[in-house]
């Protein structure tokens, strides 16, 4: 069960926060993923590093299929988002929350992360309150640890 391998100490952010505050929190706590909570501490969404970093990516990034012919982003490397962009509410960048319950199966949680291309997934209780978080590594190693029970091949 997810409960057995989840982290209980979760860094999260309130829905009233700005993008700038979310970025600060990620930097200070060195995390790449923040569940977004409403005033009742219910999870209403989530933001990851890629969501914030879309503000950094140049326009050509999404217009071209490959970038093999270039070796540096030049001026783009030092171009920062405009103040108005980082002062917008975090809810404007947030993704809909994909969550698992404490008693969800490990393989189901892993499958869900794979389908949605997530490296972390929030864990919620029956009343939708955030209770923890698991990463792909948490779940993956938990599954692999059960392989110790696999017997040896009979010759």
């Amino acid at each position: 069960m997810v409960r057995n391998c989840m982290k209980r100490n979760v860094v999260s952010i309130q829905s009233t926060a700005t993008i700038r505050e979310a970025a600060d929190k990620m930097v200070d706590r060195h995390v790449g993923f923040l569940p977004v909570l409403d005033h009742e501490n219910k999870i209403i969404g989530m933001v990851g590093l890629p969501d914030l970093l879309t503000l950094e990516l140049p326009a050509f990034f999404n217009l071209l299929e490959d970038l093999d012919f270039m070796s540096d982003f030049g001026a783009v490397e030092t171009t920062r988002p405009a103040p108005a962009q980082v002062d917008a509410l975090i809810t404007s960048l947030m993704q809909p929350a994909i969550t698992v319950f404490e008693d969800s199966g490990l393989l189901y949680a892993y499958g869900l992360m794979l389908k949605h291309n997530l490296s972390d997934i929030p864990v919620i209780s029956e009343n939708e309150h955030l209770v923890g978080m698991v990463s792909r590594v948490d779940i993956g190693t938990a599954i692999l640890s059960s392989w110790k029970e696999i017997g040896t091949t009979n010759p």
């Binding site: 140049p58 326009a59 050509f60 217009l63 540096d72 001026a75 171009t79």
Partner: protein, 428 residues
């Protein structure tokens, strides 16, 4: 008389739906065409066989052939290669970059579909501008305006030219001798004016030139072999277009022949290749032919030409200029294809009324070609660069287009008018 009224109503309704953008233009024209044939059958002014005969397969075949060739060339990265190559060559000089990008977009789109050319070159343009910290607006607008202007030079450069060529019998060579010289002058005027209008943006000093110097065009070319094969076939096709009259073949056969040779030589995955063909454009053309055919069969065109035939007393130069500017203004706001298809029978009607039509065909070519530069919606290339620019920090807005594009359109039409008047005898 019933036929005249009904066919006109159906035609006007279809035009209204297309131009008000209440309905996609292909959907509106197919529905209109079917309605025209149905009503024509009931009231006896139009038959199925007549409708089929109106579709100009020379136009459709030429378009289809060139579209197949482009759809094979597209995934090779050839267009990106060219853009990266000239971007690097410019060494970040803003004006040189505008000239070079404008030139390759124009030259390529003189022979290949200009919308595809712009769609594939514009993203690399944005890339080059972003890595050296320049505003992409002048370059994107320049590519759209200059490629539309350049397309006027050849029979295959622009859909209106294909239509006019087919209806008037003007050949590939006629376009090179009559249209190309005018286009060269007009194109230079457009470039010069863009240079002046965007002088502030073009005076900026680019940064990070190392990033530009390190671009490797060869890596942008994914499939060199196929690209070379396609370019070879296009080269042969151009020679065949030039020899069209000597060989006694029509442009559609040349284009479809070139497409067939490329398909056999390259053997691309056919499903994917055909998916890139703009079938909606081909159907739009076919449906418009059927619609206009209905008007002709009902006698509307004869009535209309009869009205305009009173213009007989006007000096031919003035008639040509009126046509050029009317078409140019119409094309600035609406698609120049329906404008051209609708005016072709009118000009043919004037011909039967005894008015010399040769100069009128050229007026139509110039008006339809240069008029589209006037507004952000004037041509498909304009719409494409504007929508791509929305992804950058500096989107091209209708206001910017009116300030920078409209003057170019007015100047090019004015220049074309002067040359038209001065060399009028040559167009006759």
């Amino acid at each position: 008389m019933t036929g005249v009224i009904l066919s006109s109503l159906i035609f006007l309704l279809t035009l209204y739906l297309i131009f008000s953008e209440k309905l996609n233009r292909t959907i509106a024209s197919i529905a209109g065409a079917v309605l025209m044939v149905g009503v024509g059958l009931i009231f006896g002014f139009y038959s199925e066989s007549q409708a089929l005969a109106t579709v100009d397969f020379n136009t459709i075949g030429l378009l289809l052939g060139m579209m197949i060739i482009v759809s094979i060339l597209e995934p090779t990265g050839f267009f990106q290669y060219l853009a990266v190559l000239v971007g690097k060559r410019s060494k970040g000089n803003p004006v040189l970059l505008l000239v070079l990008l404008g030139t390759i977009t124009t030259v390529v789109s003189m022979f290949l579909d200009n919308v595809t050319t712009v769609v594939l070159i514009a993203p690399v343009t944005i890339l080059i501008c972003e890595i050296v910290g320049l505003n992409p607006q002048p370059y994107l607008m320049g590519e759209a305006i200059l490629s539309d202007t350049g397309g006027v030079a050849t029979l295959i450069g622009d859909p209106p030219n294909i239509l006019i060529g087919s209806a008037s019998g003007l050949s590939f060579v006629d376009f090179l001798t009559h249209s190309l010289p005018i286009v060269i002058v007009v194109w230079l005027v457009a470039l010069l004016l863009l240079r002046i209008l965007f002088r502030k943006d073009l005076a900026k000093t680019p940064t990070n030139l190392d990033a530009l110097a390190e671009l490797n065009p060869k890596n942008a070319l994914n499939d060199r072999k196929t690209a070379i094969k396609v370019i070879c076939v296009v080269g042969f096709a151009i020679v065949a277009f030039l020899l069209e009259e000597v060989l006694g073949i029509r442009p559609a056969l040349v284009a479809l022949g070139a497409a067939a040779i490329t398909l056999v030589w390259v053997r691309p995955p056919i499903q994917e290749t055909l998916k890139r063909i703009q079938w909606d454009v081909l159907l739009f053309f076919a449906a418009l032919f059927v619609l206009i055919g209905g008007l002709q069969a009902a006698g509307v065109m004869q009535d209309l030409a009869g009205l305009i035939a009173q213009a007989k007393d006007l000096p031919p130069v003035l008639l040509g200029l009126i046509l050029l500017w009317t078409v140019a203004i119409l094309s600035a706001f609406i698609d120049n294809v329906p404008v051209t298809i609708a005016l072709i029978p009118v000009i043919q009607g004037l011909g039967t009324a005894g008015i010399p039509v040769a100069p009128l065909w050229w007026a139509l070519v110039f008006g339809a070609g240069f008029g589209g530069n006037g507004t952000i919606i004037g041509s498909t290339a304009n719409i494409v660069v504007a929508s791509l620019s929305e992804k950058t920090h500096m989107p091209i807005t209708p206001k910017i287009w009116n300030k920078r594009g409209l003057p170019v359109m007015l100047a090019t039409c004015f220049m074309a008018s002067i040359l038209y008047v001065v060399f009028f005898a040559f167009f006759n």
